[in-house]
Amino acid sequence: MTVTEDAPVGEIATLNVTIRIKRMNPEGTPARAPGESYWEEFHVEAHATDRVLDALHTIKWQEDGSLTFRRSCAHGVCGSDAMRINAKNRLACKALLKDLNPSRPITVEPIAGLPVVKDLVVDMEPFFASYREIMPFLVTTGHAPTRERLQSPEDRAKFDDTTKCILCAACTTACPVFWTDGQYFGPQAIVGAHRFIFDSRDEGQWDRLEILNDKAGVWKCRTAFNCTEACPRGIEVTKAISEVKRALTTGEF
């Protein structure tokens, strides 16, 4: 979807907000050394229905074109713009300014635990590498059937929640274990594995469970619940992780 800068439905009040952005330019600026991180404040006039992404666009498009962030869909489905907004991980395109106590400065920082590349952009590669490691694809043996594999609505429901993941990394980069432990896969990889472990069509459960049973895996989770709070898709991440833990101890799915 796309921005429209005019008021959407009905009469909409405007809002003056201060956005404090944690910035970093790898090549430096006249005032800053390469790689130095610093805070910069911008004042933006916004509509009450605007999101943080709209405010970032206003800054980039009208004040400072060098402000750098990723974004694409602008309505919470592509996973490009997870950021730390007022100290919580959210998608900038889903966080409405009016819900962020706009009378005080709104702080925007890159998600934590991944190397910052420039301003709000981080290197996502370590995150995707963990995802790739848990065999995130359907594993089957024998001949493929001519028609579809059957699956009851009840079986389909068992992994519905974890199919919603958009790989935005909000959960993983909210996890205190991930910040401090360089080995831990992080919650997203476990969500990604859950989506297949609990799929009745899949036959790769044991390989995947073995990967998760490993030292980098599921037992590192200390149930801090940050991940569940951070998920912009409303996935019950902690619940998925405990289901995986239970499957490991009981052997039941």
Partner: protein
């Protein structure tokens, strides 16, 4: 500069690009270049479903599907292509299921199906359940599933690489009819470093998606700037039927965020300010499930005649309040959340304000049914392929039916992947010219040099003016006057574009620079849309001329082929392929 060589290079990692990659990487060395991480592609935003006559819940067959596609496209569809797509639809859906796609299921465990606009039983008798779906996240599931399979097959991706030029071994504007023109490769800009790369390849597949950002109110992502189409155009290749753009009836009013037609498929109803179910007047048989162009025009007409809702009477209402909340949660969870998040409306109890939003480019890079790109009405560019929304096969004609695009990207993505690999197995790649990267190097350097220079124009201002012009003059209703006005305004914006200044001089992650380049694509494509629309003095599908309100098969049942030439857009025409369906009046 870094030089690479592959058998096949695919540009784009949405549904079409990744479906192609799954085929070609099994047969030939393949690289996928994409300006976004694959899972960020806009295929992931698709909601409602993918059609195939599986007959899992109701009697159905591929022939009915073909007929609906052709009639829905207002007879501008190439009928041979539609036959192929609807026949191969069944395997396309079953293949995805076997790859692991979590479709919704019927009680007996089969893939469930639901109704969608324009899809009917037995040539228009009544709506039929043909759309296979996963709640209202079908595109998300397709994108994730294809990416998962690419991980499994270890497909090689170059993420955040922007392709900015297409290299051919001859000037397509000068090549004679019948002469050989072959692809050499592409030139790409690496976002994280600013480095320029050349990719030499025997086959290149463009799968760069749509161009919705030429309009202001759109369901499309910020990144859908029509890059592949514009690059082909700049290299002298034609674009087909670009005047046909689909405006989806149900965008969230003022925002453009899409609420899938699946809402109406599940029983939602459009109402005007008097509460009337107005579609009964426009399409007595299938009412709210008429094709999109008809519904979008009906809505715009209700608003124009004063029956719009809200303080400015500028939208209509999508009413779901008679549906069970549990049913809404099971079938339409995401779109109802959009209404809650962005408009603060609870669809269980309140109808949702909606208005048409620019949604889908029916036109694009002309191809054969094997995905080969045409450089005129008959000759293909050897080794160059296109698939997905950036291509025009043409299976959507003047108006695409809902669920037929997710189908298109899978069927023709697969076909292009196979054809590209097969061609690469026999072909020799022409050498990459020593100066191949010069145009891009100069373009990027020139853009950088505007930082702090004499330019006074802002990219964002020009883009906004362009999008507002297109919304005002080239949307649901068009006239000679509105289009002429748009043409003039675009020319003026082009002049302003020549004196832009960007802010960011950096090499690393310079999105400021790329937005400026993308605006160049939008300007080029807007010109083509307007030129085609001006010349098409009839109304057909998504193209509605108030000064020529009827379809004119005599003069215009033909495809537009637009070429960029030094003195402007040159238009030519290509016959429509008709196999068994003669045009008739489109009534629903």
């Amino acid at each position: 500069m870094t030089a690479h060589e592959y058998d096949v290079v695919i540009v784009g990692a949405g549904g079409a690009g990744m479906r192609a990659a799954l085929e070609s990487s099994q047969r030939a060395s393949t690289a996928v270049l994409t300006k976004l991480y694959p899972t960020r592609s806009h295929t992931g935003a698709a909601q409602g479903g993918m059609s195939a006559a599986l007959s899992n819940v109701e009697d159905d067959n591929a022939e009915w599907h073909t007929f609906d596609t052709i009639k829905g496209g207002d007879y501008l569809v190439d009928q041979d292509a539609a036959e192929i797509m609807c026949r191969e639809a069944i395997d396309a859906v079953l293949d995805l299921e076997k790859m692991g796609l979590p479709f919704n299921r019927t009680e007996d465990g089969h893939i469930d199906q639901r109704r969608f606009g324009g899809h009917t039983r037995n040539h228009g008798e009544a709506a039929v359940r043909r759309a296979c779906y996963a709640a209202d996240r079908t595109g998300h599931m397709i994108l994730q599933t294809l990416y998962q399979q690419c991980v499994k097959q270890e497909v090689e991706f170059f993420n955040e690489f922007y392709v900015l030029d297409l290299i051919l071994d001859a000037d397509a504007t000068k090549a004679r009819k019948g002469a050989d023109v072959s692809v050499v490769g592409v030139v790409a800009y690496e976002l994280s470093t600013g480095a320029i790369h050349t990719f030499r390849a025997k086959s290149v597949i463009f799968a760069t998606g749509g161009a919705g950002k030429v309009f202001k109110t759109t369901s499309n992502a910020h990144t859908l700037t029509g890059d592949g189409m514009a690059l082909a155009l700049r290299r002298g290749l034609p674009l087909e039927d670009m005047e046909f753009f689909q405006f989806h009836p149900t965008g969230l009013a003022g925002l453009g965020i899409l609420l899938s037609e699946a809402a109406r498929g599940e029983g939602a109803i459009l109402r005007n300010s008097t509460g009337e179910r107005f579609m009964e007047r426009y399409a007595p048989t299938i009412k709210d499930l008429a094709p999109r162009d008809m519904v979008a025009r009906a809505m715009a007409n209700e608003v124009r005649e004063g029956r719009g809702c809200g303080p400015h009477k500028d939208y209509v209402l999508l009413d779901l309040t008679h549906l069970e909340p549990a049913h809404i949660d099971a079938k339409l969870p995401d779109i109802t959340e959009f209404a809650r998040t962005y408009l603060g409306i609870e669809p269980y109890y309140e109808p949702v304000p909606v208005f048409p939003t620019a949604h889908y480019a029916m036109g694009g890079i002309p191809t054969t049914v094997r995905g080969e790109v045409l450089r005129n009405n008959t000759d293909v560019v050897k080794g160059l392929f296109a698939a997905g929304e950036c291509a025009c096969v043409s299976v959507h004609g003047a108006n695409r039916l809902g669920t037929n695009s997710l189908l298109d990207i899978n069927v023709f993505g697969r076909r292009a992947g196979i054809a590209a690999a097969e061609y690469a197995a026999t072909a020799e790649a022409p050498p990459m010219p020593a100066d191949a990267a010069d145009a891009v190097t100069t373009q990027v350097a020139t853009m950088r040099a505007t930082v702090g220079g004499a330019g006074t124009e802002r990219v964002a201002d020009i883009r906004k003016a362009l999008q507002e012009t297109m919304d005002r003059d080239v949307q649901v209703f068009r006239t000679n006057a509105s289009l002429t006005d748009a043409k003039k305004k675009i020319a003026a914006l082009r002049e302003r574009y020549a004196s832009i200044a960007i802010h960011d001089r950096g090499e690393r992650f310079n999105t400021d620079l790329l937005e400026a380049i993308e605006l160049g694509f939008l300007l080029d494509l807007s010109d083509v849309v307007v030129a085609g629309a001006l010349a098409r003095k009839e109304s057909r599908g998504g193209h509605y001329r108030e000064d020529f309100p009827t379809r004119d098969d005599e003069n215009f049942m033909r495809h537009t082929m637009a070429y960029a030439r030094p003195n402007g857009i040159k238009l030519d025409y290509k016959p429509v392929v008709v196999t068994r369906y003669q045009p008739m009046e489109r009534k629903y």
